[in-house]
């Protein structure tokens, strides 16, 4: 049997048959520039700054995003709103997208949900200077991709900024240790520590 199989090369012919049948199966290619994949709501694309529905800027210039950014690509220059003492805003806001690692920590850090990520992933430009986003560019992106930004904030269980409280929103917010200390400190289980482990840590300290 084996000899006959060798002479008639049955194994090679089986391979040919499989490849031939494969030709009639549907292709899985997506004609990319013409057809695009649907992007999930939680997608971390280009950054944008959002406005409230009445048009005022959400950003209060607290610089928490600057502190949270692991790659130090955010620079906030905050100032008082002219004529309104104690009301602050970001006079200038710089975001270096060439250094951004799209981790989304800044959006989680933002206490007023001013930052959101859009679904824009085609960020290629001819001039790298175009990737140094300033405040105007970020608000422009926020206006153009407002729906993306709201969907992003909702998906990540932050506030969508509409002032309508939704069950569970805000659960995922990043807590700065210093901020949490004012509100009774971080609970051990919150950062995955058992009470015993915490005690050991305190005694060694």
């Amino acid at each position: 049997m084996g000899l006959i199989r060798n002479i008639f090369m049955t194994e090679l012919l089986m391979g040919l048959k499989i490849v031939f049948m494969q030709m009639f199966k549907p292709t899985i290619t997506l004609q990319y520039p013409h057809v695009k994949h649907p992007i999930p709501d939680g997608y971390r694309g280009l950054m944008s700054l959002l406005r409230y529905e009445d048009g005022t800027e959400r950003c209060v210039g607290c610089s928490l995003c600057e502190a949270a950014c692991p790659s130090n690509c955010i620079k906030v220059v905050s100032d008082e709103v002219p004529g309104q003492p104690l009301v602050r805003y970001a006079r200038e806001y710089y975001l270096d997208i060439t250094r951004c690692i799209f981790c989304g920590f800044c959006t989680e850090a933002c206490p007023v949900d001013a930052l959101a990520m859009t679904k824009v992933y085609e960020a290629a430009v001819y001039d790298r200077r175009d990737l140094m986003f300033d405040k105007a560019k970020l608000y422009e992106l926020g206006e153009r991709y407002l729906e993306d930004g709201k969907a992003y904030l909702t998906h990540h269980r932050m506030d969508d900024g509409t002032l309508h409280p939704v069950e569970g929103l805000g659960d995922n917010r990043y807590h700065f240790p210093a901020v949490d200390a004012e509100h009774g400190g971080v609970q051990p289980e919150q950062i995955g520590l058992t009470a015993e482990a915490l005690e050991v840590e305190e005694t060694t300290r």
Binding site: L12, G15, V19, Q22, P26, T27, I28, T29, Q31
Partner: protein, 342 residues
């Protein structure tokens, strides 16, 4: 026929045949990419023209305008001549390919072949053997070890498989008693029992399989593409070539593929003869094209199926399997023909 009209007819035939061959080469590259794509659940070229149909033209234009680079240390003259030595044998082989029976067009009589040499098959083998020089010289003149190794491998492979190819054809020659391709084709006219065409493939199946395997190896195609094994030798003998010179090598490779496919369909599949008498209203060149394209599809098909064999496996298969098998087939055929004729 007077000499003037003979020359005119021949020139027109040459122009038409060359045009068809070059067009086939262009669309062979397209067909190869498409068929391979579908075998791999892809779509292939889709951007240039509807379904990417103008892709070969775009590729050709691109290659025309590419910079022509001659590597330093290369032998400039041989480097420039090698692609031509490679291409010309691939194209002049078509001079003896009969593409149709005798026909009359605009009052001029055409033989259906540019030149019906009585040693047509020998002529094809002689000129096809010259193509190996282009490969070797191109590899050597590039002053690159990859190109050189590719050229050497190609030479070894072509010489090894030329033998098996020759032996596999002798059986057909014994059956039809002629080296002229027109006579070989005419000998395959008619049917047995009214439904089996009298093609040589039914009398010489072993020779046909051996011929196809040797043809794949001769044209340096997968799974025998040792000379241009891209994972080892970048691109083989034309590693250092770019632009037009590169495309000449490319043209030669595909031209050779079409030539061996034409030859296979003439020798084993009845050439321009229709398979059944009922189908004879379809002109002969359509049949030849259909048969040739079927074989070209097979070339693509096995490229999509089989992995590359090792070089020692290639040599072992050529010398220890293919040549003995074709020799045995030759012996059996000779005996059969002798007994049949007496």
């Amino acid at each position: 026929m007077e000499i003037g009209s003979m020359v005119a007819v021949t020139l027109v035939q040459i122009a038409v045949v060359m045009g068809v061959v070059l067009l086939t080469v262009a669309y062979m590259t397209y067909a190869e990419r498409k068929v391979l794509s579908f075998m791999q659940d892809r779509l292939g070229p889709m951007e240039v023209g509807p379904w990417g149909l103008l892709q070969p033209i775009a590729d050709g234009l691109k290659l025309f305008f590419k910079e022509d680079i001659i590597p330093s240390g290369a032998n400039k003259i041989i480097f420039a001549v090698a692609p031509i030595i490679c291409l010309v044998p691939a194209l002049i082989g078509f001079a003896v390919i009969p593409y149709n029976g005798s026909f009359t067009l605009f009052g001029l009589e055409g033989g259906g072949v540019i030149s019906d040499l009585n040693v047509g098959l020998l002529y094809i083998f002689a000129v096809a053997g010259m193509g190996a020089y282009g490969v070797i010289l191109g590899g050597w003149a590039s002053n690159s070890k990859y190109a050189f190794l590719g050229g050497l491998r190609s030479a070894a492979q072509i010489i090894s498989y030329e033998l098996a190819m020759g032996f596999s054809i002798v059986g057909v020659l014994l059956l039809s008693g002629s080296l002229s391709l027109v006579t070989v084709t005419e000998a395959q006219a008619g049917t047995w029992f009214g439904f089996i065409p009298q093609w040589n493939i039914f009398l010489q199946p072993v020779a046909f399989v051996a011929y196809v395997i040797a043809a794949v190896a001769e044209t340096n195609r997968l799974p025998f593409d040792m000379p241009e094994a891209e994972s080892e030798l970048v691109a083989g003998f034309f590693t250092e070539y770019s632009g037009m010179r590169f495309s000449l090598f490319f043209l030669a490779e595909y031209g050779n593929m079409i030539l061996v496919s034409c030859l296979a369909s003439i020798l084993f599949l009845g050439g321009y003869k229709a398979p059944l008498p009922i189908l004879e209203f379809i002109p002969g060149f359509v049949w030849l094209a259909l048969k040739t394209w079927a074989l070209l599809f097979f070339f693509i098909w096995i490229r999509g199926t089989y992995p590359r064999v090792r070089f020692d496996q290639l040599m072992k298969f050529g010398w220890k399997v293919l040549i003995p098998v074709t020799l045995a087939n030759l012996l059996v055929t000779a005996l059969g023909v002798y007994i049949y004729n007496n």
